[in-house]
Amino acid sequence: MTTPTSMRHVLRSEWTKLISVRSTVWTMVAMVATTIGFGVLISWATESNWAKVEARQRSVFDATSTSLAGIAFGQLAIAVLGVMVISTEYSTGGIRTSLTAVPKRLRLLAAKSLILLAISLVVGTITSFVAFFLGQAFLSKVGIETHLGDPQVLRAVFGGGLYLAGSAMFGLALAALMRHTAAAITIVVGALLVVPPFTRLLPGGWGDAVERYFTSNAGQQITAVTQDVNTLSPWGGYLVFTLWWVVIMAVAAYLLNRRDA
């Protein structure tokens, strides 16, 4: 009996693959722990030093993004998960087995993407909310906390989940392109964490533009309530970040169909 395989089958298969390897658990634990842990740490540090903070800095203080500051590290953990989801297929040779079962290559990549997107969005959003509430608990000791009902706050906390999901996809897209775990992880860390702050040093108008549009500089605006100078708007920034990984994914998908497996 031959039943034509459908996207539904491949999705279920990719789900089984994702939850049946330890690296998924470890990267998820690392993402949750770093996002919440650093969020708490920074909120606590802010609260205990608040008396020494200058008035000028107090005026631009963003309680939401302070509690979500751990995302700067959490993004790496979840991006590594995104990398591993596909790079281990290449490092183990499993890709040949996978493509023999699912010869429609784009369907395989699409299923991987959707599963990763779903799990990172759910876990990322929950993590973001936990980090927010714990962070506010510390900040409230000196009365500088914010609330979900305040303008833009709910968007920013949901934005934490959105940004983490985008980071996962960024990792997946890069690894689908590079097909090598270590190389992809190196580039992900560089592109999301190391390089973005340095773009500030670029001179002139085009330098400002590069800084604004650069990966996490753009994407993390969705987690902020008050925007710094020289930044994109929350949704504009998130759209740019999404374009980054979508373009990389498109190139990877094009090559996936053409290259030998």
């Binding site: 009996m1 039943t3 040779g93 040949r96 023999t100 030998d260």
Partner: protein, 314 residues
Amino acid sequence: MIEVQGLTKTFGDKVAVDNLSFTVRPGVVTGFLGPNGAGKSTTMRLILGLDRPDSGTALVNGHPYGSLPGPLFEVGALLDAKDVHGGRTARSHLLALAQSNGISSKRVDEVLELTGISSVAGKRIKGFSLGMSQRLGIAATLLGDPKVLMFDEPVNGLDPEGILWIRNFMRYLAGQGRTVFVSSHLMSEMAVTADHLIVVGRGRLMADMTTEAFIESSSTNAVRVKSPQAVELNQALVDRGFQVTTVDGYLEVARAECAQVGDVAAEHHLTIHELFEERASLEEAFMELTKDSVEYHTEAFPGDPFGAPQGESA
């Protein structure tokens, strides 16, 4: 049924598969024989749509592999038993494969049972011996109960027990009317496993015939004879048009039968002390056929009782 037509694949300027055409039929074990580097694995990857051919087509049950609606129901392929994520358990590996083609988890238990690895189903694959991995790979090929099965050097590195198991399993599958296509670089292995042979060298087709016919056609039958009147016997045989050489004190008569040589001796009243057939071994016959196509010649070191070392196959 597998139909390969004019298949060509190059890697850089290296021609791995060179205008290859053949058909693999159901109900028999078809051996895909060739020295290491002959292009067997590449051909199999091309059939499965894993590699893109430069030209030519490969059809499985009349369709390109990539357009099969439910590939695991039609083809079970095992290229390399190590092509799995070692961090998964055997069961979850098989389950993920099964689910991708809409196959039930009940079937996963069945194939685990069939291949005798139920007891390690919950263990992570990275701890498996080669024999266990091979069985797991075969279990995966059986998930969709396919009519076509393809194995790339399945006995490589296995112990005699494992080799025997695989050999019998293939014969069993072919006996059920399935198409079984199995590659090897060992003629001796193919001689006892395959009914039909497709022989390749340097990516080119060298022979496509029954194993029996192949052995028949490539064996250089000769007769050896010992006689105290060797000079006279030699002359008599040459007069009859035989090709005779002297080897280790024997006369070796090419392409002859014992009876013919015996008759010639009797006609001339010559005494014979020994008379026997000298058959080239299968391995020798195969090497003879493919000697010009072997990619890397390895010189046997002098005094090496085992001949040239066998290279690891890709």
